[in-house]
Amino acid sequence: MKAYIYVAKMRIQTMMAYRVDAWTFMIMQCLLMAAVGFFWRAVYGGAETAHGVSGDMMITYTVVSMLMSSLYYMGVEDRIADAVKSGSIATDMIKPINLFSLYFAEDIGNIIFNLFFNTIPMFIVAVIIFGLPVPASAEHFWLFLASFILGYGINWTFSATFALMAFTAIDLGPVFSIKYHFVNMLSGAMIPLWFFPEWLRTALYCLPFVYMFQEPLSIYIGKYSPAECLGKLGIQAAWLVGLLVIFMFAQKRATRRVLVQGG
């Protein structure tokens, strides 16, 4: 455990060295948040509610979605791709701790860094522009928090499994970009799924993406009753376990045939 805490701490220190990058990224995220918020405000115009959600709830949805995505930074993806490409995976593998736990510990470091350099500043900006994004109730807030943690787990496991492709293919730039835009769209991070056509929505509820953004956010704005929320948490947990099993299986196969090019 001590080793992992050390890794996370190292990661925070590394990120501190790139503070300017973090600030520019933060400003961009704020911009996006403001733009999407105003988009919803304009689109609602006179309308009271759509699909049982009011304009204010939609702005809360957007703000919290942006805050979530700043914490959902999946360093593991680039980490694996870079490590395989540069060959530093070899030194990572001979460390006396599990390879993927190492990457997970690094991402915990990323979360802590992002919380202070991204999420909190963004939250302040959001409060200034749109007011406080209040959850439906205190109960919903705690359920959201649980759902958010499960959502993080699903997202991390999925990204890590996805990044294992780096072991076989070398240039993953475009693939990651496709994945990023797809997940953004299919998880309801940008627009909630209730605006999608029926057939697409039904299909998407069979995939894990909605459990990364859409469901935690729906809980936050109070689209479900607390009892229903517990059911959602159950499905999230099931997805997390399922994805973890796939990941365990895949990582065993992938790491067996590591091919380090040069050094």
Partner: protein, 270 residues
């Protein structure tokens, strides 16, 4: 004239080189050819699903929004072909890449921009063209002589405005000696103020992007003239010419900034 011909032949040659270097890794090229359009598809789907629900966005209906979106993505695609160099120019400057251009008997800025035309930009240009054609068809855009002329002016102007901002801010590295990772920020700003109607923002924001940082002229103002929309500035005719004029002026200023920076810059050693 002879000089002009010479410059054109150099540009053509460099474009061919860039095409060849892209084709060296066809898999990567095809990957980007698939992945780049997706982000625009996602943005477009957002408009479609949401605006169909509410019918209008700041008085623009879906067809008109498609037209605006198409114009905006097309100017983006064009700017990627001609000006991608400027996104990373900070690196080129601190790594002394510009030094060798100084030794050649040709305009430096021309060498810098045309010396590495970005064939990869085609992966952004293709979705731009498709969305543009889709938008024009869906609003039944009439290609009369005056409309065509206005459209050409708007597209050239819009591309130049984008390029000018990238070039001007990229040139700051000549003085600061450290690269500025700011092109993504400006791309986002351009997209947010042109892919959606500017009139959906509070008036203060509209004012900033109309007069102080005139970014909305890239596509929003010309498109709102074509569509006959009210906005912060409403002119009966000639928005596209303002776009073109603004593009030329801003680009000229950006060139001046580049030359001034390049003139006083003393390489980076190594």
């Amino acid at each position: 004239m002879k000089k002009f011909k010479h410059y054109m032949s150099v540009a053509a040659l460099s474009f061919r080189l860039s095409m060849q270097s892209c084709m060296e890794y066809p898999a990567a090229f095809i990957g980007w050819l698939i992945s780049n359009p997706i982000q625009f598809l996602v943005g477009f789907a957002t408009i479609k699903f949401v605006v169909e629900e509410f019918e209008t966005l700041a008085d623009w209906n879906f067809r008109e929004l498609a037209f605006l979106y198409g114009m905006s993505v097309l100017t983006h695609g064009l700017s990627v072909i001609f000006f991608t160099k400027t996104w990373y120019m900070g690196w080129d400057i601190i790594h002394g890449e510009l030094d060798r251009m100084r030794l050649r008997p040709m305009n430096t800025l021309f060498q810098f921009l045309a010396g590495d035309l970005n064939f990869f930009g085609i992966t952004d240009l293709i979705p731009g063209l498709i969305l543009f054609i889709y938008g024009c068809v869906s609003v039944d855009f009439r290609w009369t002589f005056s409309n065509t002329l206005c459209m050409i002016c708007a597209l050239i102007g819009g591309t130049l405005i984008r390029g000018a901002i990238y070039l001007a801010f990229g040139s700051t590295t000549f003085w600061t000696k450290s690269p500025l990772h700011i092109s993504g920020f400006f791309q986002e700003l351009f997209n947010r103020t042109n892919m959606y109607p500017l009139s959906m923002y509070p008036r203060a924001v509209q004012f900033v992007f109309t007069f102080i940082m005139p970014m909305s002229w890239v596509a929003f103002y010309p498109a709102s003239e074509f569509m006959g929309k009210e906005s912060m500035i409403t002119l009966p005719y000639g928005m596209s010419f303002i776009t073109l004029g603004l593009g030329i002026v801003l680009f000229a200023i950006a060139c001046k900034i580049f030359s001034a920076g390049f003139g006083q810059y003393e390489s980076a050693g190594s």
